[in-house]
């Protein structure tokens, strides 16, 4: 029983981490709360609907393509809309709101409000010491781990990754040392959107696909990031896993509305008591 | 008669760093009291504690006999203690007149329900202030466009709007050229002589402090190393040692 809770919690937690990473990345580097993050997730899912569901490309190929397409779209948004608002928290938020709204409206225009269905690429479950593990969630988890590993390696060992960390830590000095902020912002936004798109694409077979599907992942990312600390990447990882495990533990006992109330109260408490979250720097 | 301001065994630690260690002094009514010390000596920390921006780790601050230790900066502002800032704080996009008007409004309506009637006697008149600080012919100039020295004067003028009995001045002559410094010195004297305001200032400029202050506290590494009149300080060997290596002329 406990093992099942841990397994479920870990599976959800991994996806939460992927979602939260992009969100916290943009805030850490550009001080913009990307309210459109959920819609990038939806975009990834929609691309999969088109590539896999309608055009028949293999799922394993459709997912990365969907991710890349979303990433490219993110870079476009950054270049055209967000770059001029770097550091301006309020206008940045409103702009993100605008992008979110437009994406939803486009999805509604193209696909309509009804649920999109795609064939399920996997089914069935396997057994881990008595805990039941669905195959599709497993592959999502494997995908998530791969993504996280790649991201970590990028951040740690590539020049661009180093530059990004520098800009997140101290934009002025980084600028003085020759790091060109424009490229960093584009990369950050691009990667964040890529991550959200990949998450959406991976999860497309598992969850319902509608134009408004971005709402809940957005909420989740938001809770995770507050817990872990706005702008902190390790915080996002920690917060994501924590949330996954707690949710899993409480899902059996609490009514879903009450569970949400509790999550938001935790968020409230964290913001009031320790806004920088578990691992973030103070705002 | 109790001292206007009494600092009693004030200490401040930031983790392992001792920024203030058992500092004691008192400022009498009508005095100009100076706190001076080398860079990093802890003067600013002391100032910020008195002004309500930092709580001390130990010790008390008493104003007119009342304990004001740990009070917030705005509560202190309402108690009759004003302050000026080292870096100029004025409303840069507003005219001088508007700046003074705002300061008056803020002083009178400090709380949504406060409605002090415009007490002529206790409150400094905007025109008087403008004249006293050399701003009379600049009333319509934009504050941000004024020369630095005049901006600082405006800052002092605004601080006066709350009719303070004690004025805390944070490096009042920082950033001023020599002639501006002399003007500032005269203004500070006039604050005491004409307006009856007691002054506590924290400064870097040794000659000015020697010239202006009635009593001086010298701090170094957070510790008080000398307290007395300018004459006493001038001949104090510890003080001379502390300043060795920095070029100070004891004017």
């Amino acid at each position: 029983m406990v093992l099942q809770i841990i397994v479920n919690g870990t599976l959800s937690g991994l996806t939460y981490v992927v979602m939260a990473l992009g969100f916290t990345l943009i805030f850490g580097i550009m001080r913009i709360v990307n309210f459109a993050h959920g819609e990038f997730y939806m975009l990834g899912a929609m691309f999969v609907v088109f590539l896999f569901g309608q055009t028949g490309i293999a799922f394993f190929i459709a997912v990365p393509i969907a991710g890349v397409l979303t990433g490219v779209f993110g870079v476009l948004c950054e270049r055209l809309l967000f770059r001029r608002l770097v550091g301006q928290e309020l206008p940045g938020m409103i702009m993100a709101l605008a992008v979110s709204i437009i994406l939803q409206s486009l999805a509604l225009l193209i696909y309509g409000p009804a649920e999109q269905t795609i064939p399920r690429p996997f089914s069935g479950t396997w057994n881990l010491f008595g805990a039941v593990v669905p195959w599709d969630r497993t592959l999502v988890a494997i995908g998530a781990i791969a993504i996280l590993a790649a991201f970590y390696l990028f951040l740690r060992f590539s020049r661009l990754g180093l530059a990004m960390r520098a800009v997140a830590f101290d934009p002025e000095t980084s600028g003085l040392m020759g790091v060109e902020s424009g490229i960093i912002y584009a990369t950050a936004f691009g990667i964040a959107s890529l991550l959200a798109g990949l998450a959406g694409a991976l999860m497309a077979p598992v969850y319902t696909i509608t134009p408004s599907m971005g709402g809940v992942p957005m909420l989740t990312a938001f809770v995770v990031v507050i817990l872990g600390g706005l702008g902190s990447i390790p915080g996002a990882a920690l917060g994501g896993m924590l949330l996954g495990l707690c949710e899993s533990a409480l899902a059996t006992t609490l009514d879903s509305t009450i569970a949400l109330i509790v999550s938001f109260m935790v968020v409230l408490a964290v913001i009031l008591v320790r806004p920088s979250g578990l691992m973030g720097r103070s705002a | 008669m109790p001292a206007m301001l009494e600092v009693d065994q004030l200490s401040k630690r930031f983790g392992g760093l001792i920024a203030g260690d058992n500092i004691c002094f008192s400022v009498q009514v009508g005095q100009i009291f100076g706190v001076i010390g080398p860079n990093g000596a802890g003067k600013t920390t002391l100032f910020n504690i008195i002004a309500g921006h930092l709580p001390p780790t130990a010790g008390r601050v008493l104003f007119e006999g009342r304990d004001i230790t740990g009070h917030s900066s705005d509560r202190i502002g309402r108690s009759g203690i004003g302050r000026t800032f080292q870096a100029v704080h004025v409303f840069k996009n507003a005219s001088v007149r508007e700046n003074l008007r705002r300061a008056e409004v803020i002083a009178l309506r400090h709380h949504p329900f406060a409605y002090l009637s415009r007490r002529k006697s206790a409150r400094a008149d905007q025109c008087e202030i403008a004249k006293a600080f050399g701003l009379a012919d600049q009333m319509d100039s934009i504050a941000g466009a004024l020369p630095y020295g005049l901006q600082k004067m405006l800052g002092v003028g605004m601080a006066l709007m709350s009719s303070p009995k004690l004025l805390l001045m944070d490096e009042p002559v920082a950033g001023l050229n020599p002639s501006e410094k002399l003007a500032a010195r005269d203004v500070i004297r006039r604050l005491r002589d004409d307006w009856g305001i007691t002054i506590l200032l924290v400064e870097h400029d040794m000659p000015l402090v020697m010239d202006l202050c009635d009593r001086i506290l010298v701090v170094n590494h957070g510790k008080p190393i000398a307290l007395g009149t300018p004459a006493e300080i001038r001949s104090n060997t510890e003080v001379i040692d502390a300043y060795l290596g920095e070029e100070y002329e004891f004017a």
């Binding site: 001080r31 709360v33 809309l81 608002l85 550091g87 301006q88 928290e89 309020l90 206008p91 938020m93 409103i94 702009m95 709101l97 605008a98 992008v99 979110s100 709204i101 437009i102 939803q104 409206s105 486009l106 509604l108 938001f222 706005l230 509305t257 949400l260 109330i261 938001f264 109260m265 968020v267 409230l268 913001i271 806004p275 705002a283 | 002004a51 917030s72 900066s73 705005d74 502002g77 309402r78 004003g82 302050r83 800032f85 704080h89 004025v90 409303f91 996009n93 705002r102 300061a103 409004v105 803020i106 009178l108 309506r109 400090h110 709380h111 949504p112 605004m158 601080a159 709007m161 709350s162």
Partner: protein
Amino acid sequence: MRKIAIGLVIALLATVPWIIGGRYAFHVATMITIMIPLALSINLTLKLGQLSLAQPAFMGIGAYTGALLTMHLGFPPVISILAGAAFAAAIALATGPIFLRIKGVYFVLLTYAFGQIINLIFQHWTSLLGGNNGLFGIPKFSIAGLNLGTIPGGYYALGLVVALTSYLALRLFETSDAGTICDSLNEDEMLCRSIGADAHAWRVAAFTLSAFIAGAAGGVYAFYIGFISPDTFGFQASVDLIVMNVIGGPTSALGPVLGAIIVVPLLELLRDARQYQLLVYGISLIFFVIYFKQGLVSVIERPRKLSNAGHA
């Protein structure tokens, strides 16, 4: 002179529904008058240099309280609406001192979380509030024996009274010492505090007033529609209010009024074509944020200094 001209224009505009007549015209007009206090309510928080996403929650608190007071305790609707607004204000007064210590992005997220909690309570408390199905059967608004439902444009008149009062209250706030102090606090809080300004008290006062206005609008809404449900008081409502403030202009009380006058008919018109509504919203937001930060009101009034709400 300009101000009187604008006042006349708006007064004239206000009579349009009676000229056109018909339920639809009155409906749109009444909704405008309900949205105006709400848009003003967010505007007031912007004056503090903050964005509060809790205003729809306060609206909801005012709506449910007002409705229940009349339905279960038989209070006359006028009293209920005022009591509802007062209750919303009381909650703001209680939470304000805690919430307003937080600034910037975190405040936005805080009020968002708070708004969600209130909304979830609306959804969950089925026995008292009707839960997700909502609260039905709110009686018609009657005052001194006069049932507003029977007069054409009766509710519109009520809405006008509330909207006008809210606008005047905000205008007064803006132009009085309160406005001066709030602007000054935004610009240089340390300076204001050194002169003795109780920054916190001012912020809580403004926040409380904003909740009162939102609660009053909620009460009017409840008695007008006769039915309220949690969806009305969620994040989507905040988005509407933000759009109104961005288009109208956040710097003056007139801005949100203009914003409401423009946006509400659009909302109603596109009610069945949500995708187009969203598209128009999104594009206008982008346009205004980039090119027209001061909003439409700047065309009419000489723009006052933009409060620091727009900048980090």
